[in-house]
Symmetry: C2
DNA sequence: TGGTGTCTGTACACTTGTGGACAAACCGGT
DNA sequence: ACCGGTTTGTCCACAAGTGTACAGACACCA
């Protein structure tokens, strides 16, 4: 039940946006958690009661479970630019998506009731959170359209870009099997795509690990979706989207 | 600049949720519009200043423009169960999606500033709108995952179900060309799928028109996504989703 | 009634993605 | 250095979706 340090707060760009007096409405009620990849923040169907802020290179993901194929498709990534939990609904409803940790690290957790009280008291706080929720919905909009149009090479490249943008460095843990499930395609097909990207020198791989070697070329190989999302973040929350 | 009649209000299920005193905060500022299919409510990039409530069998859609293929993919349908414009963001940001009229009919328009003032004054109003925005995001979540996993027969069936659910009767205007663009696939492929559904007796078609003949069978042919979305509406906004 | 433009149907050659089977490579533990 | 489980690579037959070209059908208008 430790209170977050100034460094923890600085690790999340949305919190960093807040003025000190708004921050003081939240930080005394925050819990610091160190979570690892695969930990579940909230299960679909559970009532939403908390909000989590990923710090540093911690990374969360929303997944939608598709019954008939027994796969959980990843629909959005949330890193240090944002937060997870009740962002749109303000809580007290069943979570539609499962949110889980994709890259382990530090998370700050606060009760939605605390956040809601703070939003009622502060226009600025309300302002930033509603702007962030607009960016979150933009990301999901774009993903929905992207999934309907772009091929797997483009979408794989896009996923790698989105993931590296939100972590420090250009390397992260992930098996091809996991990546395939995120994207909703067969593992062998992902292997074929990854081999191709590696042959082209855009990425390198180790067992259970990806390394982005040439981010510009990877962006050229991907669809414009990652860039479109980043541009909306810039328009609405100038400078919040992590550099790549 | 006519004020909406009680019948107009009754035509939208979200407004019908509101108590009289909450409704009175909005109706005096509402504009009644009769729009036709293809009319644009807001262009992507324009600042969001208004909210529209579809009435009766009027139907709006969010579309995301994908540059590299020159197609506008449809990401969500909004009928009399909801509203379009600043639902999530509370306005004053550039719209990420274009919203346009898919089935002509009556719309009620109100300034976001009016809606925001009313939300500050009334807990109940805030409650219903944040619950509705949760349902809207659920719909987009599901669409994103659906587009990544389900085949075109299933998605076409799902689209037909979602459209008929929100209109009176089981018939609506739409060319196969338009449907193909909504879904982001080639026209000839849609024709093949439509022919199949027709041979199976699930639908009938006329030039520029679809008629659902056997809704239960169409649901069986579609993926579970339409049903999953409806269930979330029921859980969060009990009874708001239109009957089929 | 015939003409016109839009909408729909069909054929075809091609690319993308699927799913199972199995071999090879990796890496941590002892 | 070897073992064993996980991860990755490759092959293959098949299904799904693409895009062009062109023919036919429909609705409307004159």
């Amino acid at each position: 039940m430790t209170t977050p340090s100034p460094d923890d707060i600085a690790g999340n760009a949305l919190l960093t946006r807040l003025k000190d007096d708004d921050l003081k409405r939240l930080t005394p009620h925050m819990v610091v958690l160190d979570l690892k990849a695969g930990d579940v923040l909230q299960h679909a169907g559970d009532t939403v009661t908390d909000t989590w802020f990923p710090c540093g290179s911690a990374l969360a993901a929303f997944r939608i479970w598709i019954e008939d194929v027994n796969k959980g498709i990843e629909v959005a990534l949330v890193g240090r630019e944002g937060a997870v939990g009740g962002i749109v609904s303000n809580g007290n409803v069943p979570a539609y998506a499962t949110s889980e940790v994709r890259a382990g690290g530090r998370f700050l957790r606060v009760k939605i009731s605390t956040l809601e009280r703070a939003k009622l008291e502060s226009i600025a706080l309300r302002h930033w959170f509603s702007r962030y929720s607009d960016c979150l919905i933009a990301q999901i909009f774009q993903t929905a359209a992207c999934n309907a149009t772009h091929n797997m090479v483009q979408r794989t490249a896009k996923w790698l870009l989105a993931a590296t943008a939100r972590t420090d460095g250009c390397e992260f843990e992930m098996t091809q099997e996991q990546l395939a499930e995120m994207l909703g395609v067969g593992r062998t097909f992902v292997t074929r795509i990854v081999s191709r990207l590696r042959e082209e020198g855009l990425i390198a791989t180790r067992r259970g690990r990806f390394i982005v070697k040439d981010e510009a070329a990877l962006r050229a190989r991907s669809c414009g979706c990652a860039t479109a999302i980043r541009d909306h973040f810039d328009a609405v929350l100038h400078g919040i989207y992590p550099a790549e």
